[in-house]
């Protein structure tokens, strides 16, 4: 299922004195099965965009096409549930949405809203709790008895339980320690690979964008200002800097090396391993002479 944004504009509090233009003329596509990262500094409109991906917000101009269904300003769409079932969003600090008496019930809440039977929902909860790296015994506990990181995992399981076709993540690792971050990101990546799940990641971490994404969208003041693969975009560091963004450490290191040595690597490297390999290739081929 593809999602297309076509010339989307969004104004908060439209028609009041407090109106605020948050998105203007935003067009891009999230192709099925891809991993797309959206980056941009604070207030650039990232969270506003992702709320359009499952019709939580309706554009004030332009349209959003979600797997064939059109959401636009003039048409009041009925039955948005169908869309929301297909596009799952993990919001920032998803642990703030937990409310049920037990972890199991909380995970079952989403699927049951979409008409999944109780047994089926329970099965999904049991299956998922391990996927998010928690022991079975957690299922019977109250979500409020867990640590922050555990709560986050339960909330994520609650979204995964809807079995969406597209998974949207708004800074899913904020506030976790480095190990927690890595575990959660690796889990999303594994899901993406295993199930071919389209994934949209909003992040402030250039490292994560470089490491996980196939495509990147850069936002600035409510517009899309750059689009392309991480390799393309990260080879334009000055431009990124003008939007208040940086490049991953690996790229920064590569730049420093190229500056000092006056040599150029074959391509921008996105991971440490890649950089080490490229460097050794450079050394063997000629740099070392």
């Amino acid at each position: 299922m593809d999602i297309q944004l076509q010339e989307v504009e969004y104004r908060y509090a439209a028609g009041t004195p407090f109106e605020r233009l948050a998105l203007k003329d935003v067009s891009f596509t999230i192709p099925e099965g891809r991993f797309v990262a959206i980056i941009g500094h604070t207030g650039s409109g990232k969270s506003t965009i992702i709320q359009h991906l499952n019709a939580l917000l309706r554009p004030t101009k332009g349209k959003v096409v979600i797997g064939g269904r059109v959401v636009s300003a003039d048409k009041k769409e009925k039955n948005l549930k169908e869309i929301r079932k297909k596009v799952g969003i993990v919001f920032q600090f998803p642990e703030h949405q937990l409310f049920e008496e037990t972890v199991e019930k909380d995970i079952m809440y989403g699927p049951m809203n979409f008409g999944v039977s109780e047994e089926e929902a329970r099965d999904r909860a049991r299956g998922l709790i391990e996927k998010v790296g928690l022991p079975d015994s957690v299922l019977e506990k109250s979500p409020f008895d867990l640590s922050g990181g555990q709560m986050r995992r339960v909330a994520i399981a609650g979204v995964l339980a809807m079995e969406p076709d597209v998974l949207v993540l708004d800074e899913p690792t904020a506030g976790l320690d480095p190990r927690g971050r890595k575990e959660i990101m690796d889990m999303f990546y594994a899901l993406h690979k295993e199930k071919g799940l389209s994934t949209v990641l909003v992040t402030h971490s250039m490292e994560d964008a470089a490491f996980y994404a196939d495509d990147m969208v850069v936002m600035h003041k409510g517009s899309v200002c750059m689009q392309g693969t991480p390799r393309e975009l990260f080879s334009r560091p000055e431009e990124l800097a003008s939007y208040g963004l940086s490049v991953p450490e690996v790229i920064r290191f590569q730049q420093k090396f190229e500056e000092l040595s006056g040599m150029k690597l074959a391509r921008p490297c996105l991971t440490i391993e890649e950089l080490a390999e490229e460097l050794s290739r450079l050394r063997d081929w000629g740099g070392g002479s």
Binding site: Y12, A13, T16, P17, F18, Q51, N54, L56, K81, R84, K85, G88, I89, F91, P94, H96, Q97, L98, F99, Y109, G110, N113, F114, F144, G158, V159, M162
Partner: protein, 265 residues
Amino acid sequence: MMEKMIFGRYLPLESPIHQLDPRAKLLFTFGFVVVVFLANNVVTYATLAAFTLMLVYLSKINLRFLLSGLKPVIWLIAFTFLLHIFLTREGDVLVKVGFLEIYEGGLRQGFFISLRFLLLILVTSLLTLTTSPISITDGLETLLQPFKKLKLPVHELALMMSISLRFIPTLMDETDKIIKAQAARGADFSSGPIKERVKAVVPLLIPLFVSAFKRAEELAIAMEARGYRGGEGRTKYRLLHWRWKDTVAVCLLLLLAVVLWRLRS
């Protein structure tokens, strides 16, 4: 989405009324609410209305804007008017349509009471339109000082009000976020039978309260870490200045009271 609207009632303009000390405005408003009840004939009501219009003029607030803010109560005023017309049977019969009779007294009564109502609301609205919530809190705190002797924790009440003001936008945002997070999980807040709708707010309310508890905890810790230990020994950053204008305003109200007292029948 709604965050900036809340303080929308306060219009930061530069007018003689805006510049008054909040204490003066509070006293004036409370006084006015009492004085309004003095009016009981055409002359007194006309005086009162003229006085109110003068206040509106001085505040530099667009009358149309002011009236548009009264939408929620306008129909009530109209309804009061009609009821009084039909239910008061005094004086001559003016109109008679079938069994409905409109008396002169009814018309007058309906008109007066609706007007009184309208004026009350206009003046109280003026207070909130020309005074920021923070100043109102400050003003109330100072006005309530004498009650400290009666063990009323005036300082705590004022701080409580200002913290609650400060958290309005934050908690509204929070509400909005939770509504969206649950909607993304398929919660439906706007259809189905009553029972479903009532049940649908539980996933909103529990997280909202839990986050408020957590906030309270963190905020209290932050306050103590910054040396908060109750009202004793505390100094104040915001100081109010009572000027001659404020005295004039209060005197004006007294004058109005005397005039009305004289003119009422």
